[in-house]
């Protein structure tokens, strides 16, 4: 059991490329920390540096208060689950799990007992004598987990451990990973590119982009209070809708309607220059079919009429797609990358920006029909047009 502290950690490759830039992150004892971000954001590099598989260019890595920058992986007492599982193919499941203990020269009875325990937790007891080649993908994944568990290490590092499983198995294993982590209460750093895994698994989530840590917080903090456009766009599925807006006298002029901003949003925004152009973000669930809204709620937001391009029935809800005519979200070049990574700005062929609304199943809205939609002004987010910083971010 140990805490892991990354203090201004930098990974710089010989060609000058910085994969990780000044990463500051504290992972508490027993915490389940998720490192998430699009591919190439430096999350795996960060994990490998914690593991000791990659050198740290500058900064300090402390485990249990001790600086371990120069400590070899084998002396860090950390277990890792690889994306590829990396099982030893010439050993049986039992030998795979016992390998680390054998290297540590543990007594035979202890090895047997620990392997047996781990096998029971992971439901592998009847496969102990088999070789990895004869196991299914899910079983191999569990062996990889087992190899980490038997060691009772200071921390688990997991590098996209579920990404090779099919969708259904992934959901099952996700729950199992969360259960095991809670049961063992071992500090865990888990790398993934899947925001769903990040949201469902972690105590806290650290979101990275281009080697820079964007925001750290509980999944709900990131969801409800994103620090910038990238976080807002990355977390949540379907993603947040972004439209250009102008702020004036407590009113936000959106392409589809004008919204009178409630007091709480105005307070967060602080004093704004009149006529300031910003980007407004609205989550799909903060839209609703206006006919399903009572009068109290209606006063909290604004309504507008639009034609629905497409309505997807999900059973418990509808995803309604509709286009609005809006100018392009003008911004600096940095922002362009940010937006692409966040998947912001989907456009129809006619050049309209496509928004997605999550409507209640009672809605009668159908594809191609004109409907009146309502949006919740209290849940709106505003971002600086140039930097992408969230103006509504509550520190």
């Amino acid at each position: 059991m140990a805490d892991i502290v990354l203090d201004n950690v930098v990974k710089r490759y010989p060609d000058g490329f910085e994969a990780v830039k000044n990463l500051n992150l504290t992972i508490d004892d027993g915490e389940f920390m998720i490192l998430v971000g699009p591919s190439g954001c430096g999350k795996s590099t960060a994990l490998n540096m914690i593991a000791g598989l990659e050198d740290i260019s500058s900064g300090e890595l402390r485990i249990e208060g001790k600086v371990v920058n120069r400590v070899a992986p084998r002396d860090r007492d950390i277990a890792m689950v690889f994306q590829s599982y990396a099982l030893y193919p010439h050993m049986t499941v039992r030998e795979n799990m016992a390998f680390a203990l054998k290297l540590a020269k543990a007594p035979k009875e202890e090895i047997d007992r620990k392997v047996q325990e781990a096998a029971e937790i992971l439901d592998l007891t009847e496969h102990l004598a088999r070789k990895p080649a004869n196991l299914s993908g899910g079983q191999r994944q569990r062996v990889a987990m087992g190899r980490a568990i038997v060691r009772d290490p200071k921390a688990f590092l997991m590098d996209e451990p579920l990404s090779n499983l099919d969708a259904k198995l992934r959901v099952q294993m996700r729950a199992q990973v969360a259960r095991i982590q809670r049961q063992l209460n071992t500090t865990t750093v888990y790398v993934t590119h899947d925001q769903t895994e990040a949201m469902t698994l972690g105590d806290r989530v650290a979101l990275m982009l281009s080697g820079v840590l964007q925001q750290v917080g509980s999944p709900m903090e990131l969801y409800n209070n994103p620090a910038n456009l990238f976080v807002a766009g990355f977390i949540g599925s379907p993603g947040m809708n972004f439209v250009p807006a102008t702020l004036e006298n407590g009113t936000a002029h959106l392409p589809m309607t004008d919204v009178q901003l409630p007091q709480q949003v105005l307070e967060r925004l602080g004093r704004e220059a009149p006529g300031r152009r910003v980007i407004a973000g609205i989550r799909p669930e903060d839209f609703e079919d206006a006919t399903k809204i009572d009068n109290d709620s209606r006063a909290r937001g604004a309504t507008f009429k639009t034609r629905l391009d497409l309505v997807e029935a999900m059973g418990a809800e509808y995803y309604a797609h509709f286009g609005i005519t809006a100018g392009k979200l003008v911004a600096s070049e940095d922002m362009q990358d940010l937006r692409q990574d966040a998947g912001v700005e989907e456009r129809t062929e006619s050049g309209e920006t496509v928004l997605v609304a999550r409507l209640s199943p009672e809605s009668r809205a159908r594809s191609g029909e004109e409907v009146e939609l309502w949006l919740d002004a209290t849940k709106m987010h505003f971002f600086d047009e140039k930097s992408g910083e969230a103006l509504t971010y509550a520190r």
């Binding site: 598989l53 277990a79 690889f82």
Partner: protein
């Protein structure tokens, strides 16, 4: 794909038998010769009329053939073991480490194998006589090593490349030193390559005639292929063909045993199940 019609099958069988006969006929002839009496060597019949083992007993009763066999086995085994130890270390470094001149080393190794042996054997004779390696075991396995090492490095680096690097990282995380990771994880997985390289190194050392002929002079290091030339008939007018044939058969047996043992270990797909996809 065309179907396996009976005609096709027959053709395949005929072709296979043709190749077998072509390859094995000389071997059968040698065995036949080795069983003939000196008088019937030239009788022209394929099967010996009076089969006898006297050629074999003569070969083993001679004062130079048994020591030569011992030399052959010893020198070939030492060459094989040393070649595998050095080649696996070198190949591992070449596949896993980044260092300047990596490609130059591989190219240099390949160039060495292309060097004609006949061009260095004369110089080597003089050098060996001066440094005292002439007519000794090291005097033979050192040159053999220099020719089989590059080949072994090539084969082994191809096998090491196939092994997922994640396995080594996993071993490191499991607490293995680099040496332990290599010995307990990487090497077992590269075994097919090790055996392939081993067989080739052994055969090359075993079959060599040129170096063994020039660099030896006595029973101290003379190997079996060279010793076979020292068989003589009962009188100077008699051909020693029967004894030579017996020697040739005896020399073939260890190679057959080596290949049969190692062939079973050369199984593909040993890394299956290590990593997904």
């Amino acid at each position: 794909m065309t179907e396996n019609t009976p005609t096709r099958k027959t053709l395949w069988v005929v072709a296979a038998i043709g190749v077998l006969v072509y390859a094995l006929f000389p071997v059968a002839w040698i065995i036949s010769l080795s069983l003939k009496t000196p008088a019937s060597i030239g009788d022209g019949s394929f099967l010996p009329t009076h089969a006898t083992l006297s050629n074999y007993t003569a070969a083993f009763d001679s004062d130079f053939f048994p020591p030569a066999l011992r030399n052959s086995i010893g020198i070939a085994l030492i060459t094989t073991v040393l070649a595998l130890v050095f080649a696996s270390a070198a190949a591992y470094a070449i596949t896993r480490l980044e260092f300047p001149g990596k490609t130059a080393i591989l190219a240099g190794a390949l160039a060495v194998t292309m060097f004609p042996a006949i061009s260095i054997v004369g110089g080597l004779y003089n050098v060996w006589r001066n440094v005292g390696l002439y007519d000794s075991w090291p005097g033979l396995f050192l040159p053999y090593l220099s020719f089989s090492l590059p080949l072994c490095i090539y084969i082994l680096s191809a096998f090491f490349r196939e092994i997922p690097w994640d396995l080594e990282k996993a071993a490191q995380m499991d607490g293995a030193t680099p040496m332990q990771a290599f010995r307990r994880v990487i090497l077992p997985l590269a075994m097919p390559g090790v055996f392939t390289a081993g067989i080739l190194a052994f055969i090359a050392a075993w079959n060599d005639f040129l170096f063994a002929n020039v660099l030896t002079t006595s029973n101290a290091a003379r190997t079996a292929p060279v010793a076979m030339a020292y068989f003589t008939g009962a009188s100077q007018f008699q051909q020693p063909a029967g004894a030579i044939a017996a020697g040739a058969v005896v020399v073939t047996v260890p190679i057959l045993i080596m290949v049969l043992i190692f062939q079973r270990r050369i199984v593909s797909g040993l890394t299956a199940g290590a990593v997904k996809g």
